[in-house]
Symmetry: C2
């Protein structure tokens, strides 16, 4: 077994955390921003230093390739992203890039033999924080392979026109032209020239930490449904309308929320569901709300449980507190299972390294999920302290980050050997 | 008894409804907008035609004075506003102006003798829709007489700087200068030159209609408290955080809403309370909310009931669904009782006219409420169809509007005679 260098990993974590440093422990590093370009330049500098060849594709995804002994074989790629949400942490995405770099640096330094080209890769604009949607560039690159209802949301021409949420006069296309990283469409990740993709990532949840395990062997991305739940009341004056005449849509929504919690909590305990967004109209303190809408996001590996969730939604009482209710489906995603052979390589690697581990699923979406429609793909998770992510307290120790890279290295080498 | 003219009232309703006509039954007529200036010009034209003298004060309140037989006596004023909310109706505010005009027209046409000067008046910017706050110019004029905690919110210099919510480069002061209606501060309504103020208004609620009464004899403006209720959770990823680890501030808020309804419904049935505004952070469908805040507006005539409301708020459980709760007082208003003698004049007038009527309180705030701190004041209500107001379906029949004006006329004449 080979292992990666904790010192080298710490150096990368310290360096990359300066690009977009928000001044209180976290970063804001929007895709293709000056801060993200600093991170890309550092990636290129370090990868060039170990003899990797740099290429970019037409949406600025960056590929650093270390030649194998038989360059005619399809390459094995390790990829994640270097952009963050606003006031995000120092690990989400960038750990997968640093882990890929660390693997190539270990291979180069230790002169580890390998047949296939090995590639460290940066996906552009995974978060979609400045230019929605999230997972934009994996969506574009994998578009031809995605299910039709997802593919329609990731047309390149629409993505190029995606407007900055901070300055609507700027588009993703303009940022791409200005970045200096726009390359050739022929360089895109594709199933002919690539054999497999691995992504190392923080868990972004509390499961590994709670179980005391260092490594998560990821098996799937959870299936999900996303609904908009609607409650229709009647707007009237707060001071002049007796209680018995009221049709208060916010009170109706509170009752629907409680119904959903009561009913959904009866289903499988692995189910997660979230009502994260709420809209209230007219949202004035002196007016009884006439319309409230909230989101319901529910995720589970088993489609039968998702069907039970849909049934609960369909059975929301039609009249609640003298308000009418309704719902609309926003989108669905079937459970995406990662490649069984690659999952086995990860499991063997972590067991041989002797790190505590468990099988885990991914509740969050990742670029790997889109890539998996196109070529064999899997992921490796390391724990997130207190389960926090997408916030500045996000933290994973350098030891665990290095263990994650070592698992990645050995799984990739098993993949390299398996022809 | 004298009565007003239904035909003349209908003509006014039809004419004023064209100023700011939004095209589907209602109006948008922001204070000092071109549409509001049309309404003011029509007021000036009609009042000048009956021999009234026009004056304006320094915040563009307009006074049309019909001389009495003893002009040394203090004047009796009838006032309301001609501005509307966005997509408001054809009655809120403007009915009180049209009613005042109709009274003066009747007095002039029927040569009804009166000792005191009689004044029809337009208050500037009652709604505060374009330039907050509401009741701005009655607040400025009555400032010296308001309770200290209210007065501090209506300093003239701050009001002049109030920014347009549509175009923050424009201020109320700029609109005032451009209006052509800015006059002399010495012309302001004041307790030395004025004996009493009456305001005719639509009820804006369903009580009169439900009771089958034509006229509401208003006795007070309800006391109120306004709180911000706060729920503190923990933001985490919707897909990666098991239910048992969650601190969902929106679910916590739903439970607090339910607690409030349960407890407040045990209090006096006349109590009205409203939770009209809600804020959810970060309000993203894939993130568990970490903070939710909502408004609680509660109104009742009896301060002991308001005290019970405060006690219910103070006893919100400190921990709800693993979230912390809190509250903050936004503002309070004690019940404002209208002048007993003026209320009696209204009651006598309506009884003598033989219109069905009842005593009623005002849940909404009106310019009359501020005026009442300065000089004897009262109000007359007419029914609102289905209780609707601040919306385009707002409606009161011309018959009822005319009855309201007739009550106003006879109450004013009783006031005129009572020296």
């Amino acid at each position: 077994m080979f292992t990666c260098s904790k010192e080298r990993m710490q150096d990368k974590i310290s360096t990359f955390s300066t690009f977009g440093d928000a001044g209180h422990g976290g970063i804001t590093r929007y895709s293709l921003s000056p801060e993200a370009l600093q991170a890309r330049a550092e990636f290129v500098k370090r990868m060039t230093a170990i003899g990797a060849e740099i290429k970019t594709d037409d949406v600025a995804n960056v590929y650093a390739t270390l030649k194998g002994s038989d360059p005619t074989l399809p390459a094995i790629v390790m990829a994640s992203h270097c952009d963050s949400v606003k006031n995000g942490g120092n690990y989400d995405g960038i750990l997968g890039v640093m882990g890929a770099m660390e693997v190539l640096e270990t291979v180069a330094n230790d002169k580890i033999p390998h047949k296939h080209n090995l590639v460290a890769m940066i996906w552009t604009n995974e978060e979609g924080s400045l230019y929605p949607p999230a997972m934009m560039c994996s969506g574009i690159v994998c578009n031809d392979y995605l299910p039709a209802d997802i593919a329609k949301n990731f047309k390149k021409e629409n993505m190029l026109a995606s407007k900055s949420i901070l300055d609507p006069t700027k588009t993703f296309g303009m940022a791409l032209e200005a970045s200096g990283y726009k390359g050739d469409e022929a360089n895109r990740l594709n199933p002919k020239d690539y054999k497999a993709m691995f992504e190392l990532h923080i868990e972004q949840g509390p499961i590994l930490e709670a179980a005391g395990n260092d490594i998560g062997v990821v098996t799937c991305v959870l299936g999900m449904v996303n609904y908009r739940i609607k409650v229709y009341g009647q707007a009237d004056h707060a001071g002049t309308t007796p209680m018995k005449y009221r049709h208060d849509a916010l009170f109706g929504a509170a009752k629907v929320l409680e119904y959903l919690h009561t009913e959904l909590d009866k289903l499988d305990p692995e189910l997660v569901y979230t009502t994260g967004e709420i809209l209230c109209h007219p949202d004035v303190h002196t007016v009884i709300p006439d319309y409230v809408e909230f989101s319901l996001d529910a995720r589970h590996e088993d489609p039968r449980v998702i069907e039970q969730v849909v049934s609960v939604i369909e059975n929301i009482p039609k009249d609640v507190e003298k308000c009418k209710t309704g719902y609309e489906i926003a989108w669905t995603r079937d459970t995406v299972y990662y490649d069984k052979q690659l999952v086995d390589f990860v499991q063997e690697a972590v067991d041989e390294l002797g790190y505590s581990n468990q099988k885990i699923n991914s509740g969050a979406g990742h670029d790997a999920q889109f890539a998996s429609y196109m070529l064999p793909t899997t992921m490796v998770f390391v724990p997130s302290k207190d389960g926090h992510s997408h916030c500045e307290p996000e933290f994973t120790s350098t030891e665990l980050c290095t263990e994650g890279a070592s698992v990645l290295l050995n799984a990739v080498l098993k993949c390299d050997a398996a022809d």
